[in-house]
Amino acid sequence: MRTPLRPLARILQARQEGLNPDSIERENLKLRHEAAREKARGRAQLRLMFLCLSFVAAFVSIGARMGLMAATDPVEPRSSAPGAEIIAQRADITDRNGRVLATNMTTHALYAHPKVMVDPKGTAVKLAEIFPELDPKALERRFTDGRSFVWIRKVLSPEQMQRVHEIGDPGLLFGPREMRLYPNGTLAAHVLGGTSFGAEGVHSAEVIGVAGIEKAMDARLRDPAQGGEPLTLSIDLTLQSTIEEVLAAGMGMLNAKGAAAILMDARTGEILALASLPTFDPNDRPNPLVDKNAEPGDSPLFNRAVQGVYELGSTFKIFAVAQAMELGLVNPQTLVDANAPMIWGKHRIKEFEGHNYGPLLAVTDVIAKSSNVGTAHIALMIGPLRQQQFLKSLGFFEPTPVELVEAPGAKPLIPKKWPEIVTITTSYGHGMSASPMHLAAAYAAIANGGVMIKPTLLKREGPTTGVRVMSEKTAEESVKMLRRVVLEGTATLGDVPGYEVAGKTGTADKPKKSGGYYKDKVVNTFASMFPASNPQYVLIVTLDEPQDDTLSQTRRTAGWTAVPVAAEIIRRVAPLMGLRPKLEPVATDAVTAASN
């Protein structure tokens, strides 16, 4: 109800009393203004209050959310797309065709909480029944001496796990375990090496490589960023298996202590097969030898192909000859002095079994007949300095760069000083030691036309580049000489019809620990390549202490031991690689078939 500014009754009364009626109006106006101001103030207060409350609500909700986030455990976003999660397990290893060489399996580890055990004694006895290697008394002692945690076994098979379940003691607990599995057993054991557990927890354990490529490529295999992408090796499972089979048979037949073989692609440096016997099962790696007097070669863990640093004997001769041809000092038909025995200072250089191929011998026959004296004279023409440089360029002064943890440790044994007598002995492979892997890489350089490439155990994509160490012509001439060794020289047993094997034998006496050489212990090597007209593959076969007792005579030369084994390997392996045997040109029929 709006009150009028000049109410008539009061105005009339004021007029009668002689007062100014305007004062009444002013008074009323003032009252009206006051009321309006009061109303505006109230509204403004309300607005301020509302704004204040809004701010409080906003800050409280933010604060509450922050508090909640700080107080709760982190959780993975639940709606992420599958495949984006990190694959924590160790990557598989496959051969070049994708066949599995090493993979993982989930098993369980067994541990115990003795404090919650119902019947420690009975449990110990029952566990010992399942696992014969456990001692029930020792186990019972560990269960009852007050500790609250006991590891019992690192890995269980599903059957064993079921039997442990059947014991039914609440104190026995299982922890998931990732286990490395090598489904092919002993195959390529020296390449793969093996694994063991690193840091162990109840919920998981770290699998770490302990030898071979598992250790050399450990970081790559464990890298979660690789997303479990398998590591593809250059090894071919079929070839590896065939070579191991033939090599084992040959080793048994020749009573050898050990054997090694390397098959390498001469162009790319990929190692297609690498075998070392005796071998072991990487699923159950034997312990290293503890006996101080034992030679490292006595352990099956010893990789003869990479770690076996031997004097490789006459297989070295081709390097001296190739270098002399490269330098233009000789050509295959040059006659060199081969009059045995050669006297150099107080040393006498003899031929095998006291032969004398002299007085003069063509260079190509020096290789075919494996003449020490002829090679020595060629080496003297080259001189120590150039000889060292050439051998260095072929990689004989450094450990091989192959991806095995054992490789960097296998340093070739190089004479400290290099007088001329060392030049002479090195030219026919004595006084200097290297591994079969070194030899394979150097022979690959001859086979592929003179380019030194890096040997590798990983599958290579695309072309390979290397350093040229000799001209293509020299390499070609060298291969021709090596072919003659097989056709009419020391390795005639190595000829495989259709595959044109070329190679060089080497027989070296084993050095005694006390100095000097054994009379009846040798290392036989056959370094070969095939097919000679276009060499694609290099095969090195080494036998440790072989002897051939057939034909009522004991023979220890490579031509009778390593060569036939290598020939059998080539005969079996070449067809598997799709290498078509080269047929001798068939004489056209004198009479042409005709029909009337």
Binding site: S79, T103, N104, P575
Partner: protein, 118 residues
């Protein structure tokens, strides 16, 4: 006019509340489903690695060699040898297809009339 607006906005509020409630539960159900599927996927992946290991174990060269030897009389498998390579010339041409006999009465036909029957 105003009361109608109030009623409408109140109804809209109820509708939105109902929609949000439903979406919330649908999301939770979807998340549960995703979790279940992911568990299933990881389970299947694990099974797959086991199968792959089993496959590799059953196909290990040693075992295949033994099986080939044991079943030699049935399969006659031998290691591959150089002599097993042939040349294209050794492969016989496929035998020429004989024309079908469609008209039995043509048996007595004259030379040259057979082609019309085909």
């Amino acid at each position: 006019m105003r009361p109608v607006l109030y009623v409408l906005s109140f109804l809209a509020l109820i509708a939105l509340g109902f929609w949000a409630y439903r979406e919330n539960y649908a999301t939770q159900a979807a998340l549960k489903e995703v979790e279940r599927l992911q568990r299933q996927i990881s389970g299947l992946r694990e099974a797959l690695t086991v199968q792959r290991a089993e496959w590799a174990y059953l196909n290990r060269p040693d075992r295949l060699r033994q099986l080939a030897t044991a079943n030699f009389d049935r399969l006659g498998l031998m290691p591959m040898e150089p002599s097993q390579f042939g040349t294209a010339a050794q492969v016989a041409y496929p035998a020429a297809k004989l024309p079908e006999i469609s008209f039995t009465t043509d048996i007595q036909g004259t030379i040259g009339s057979g082609a019309e029957g085909l």
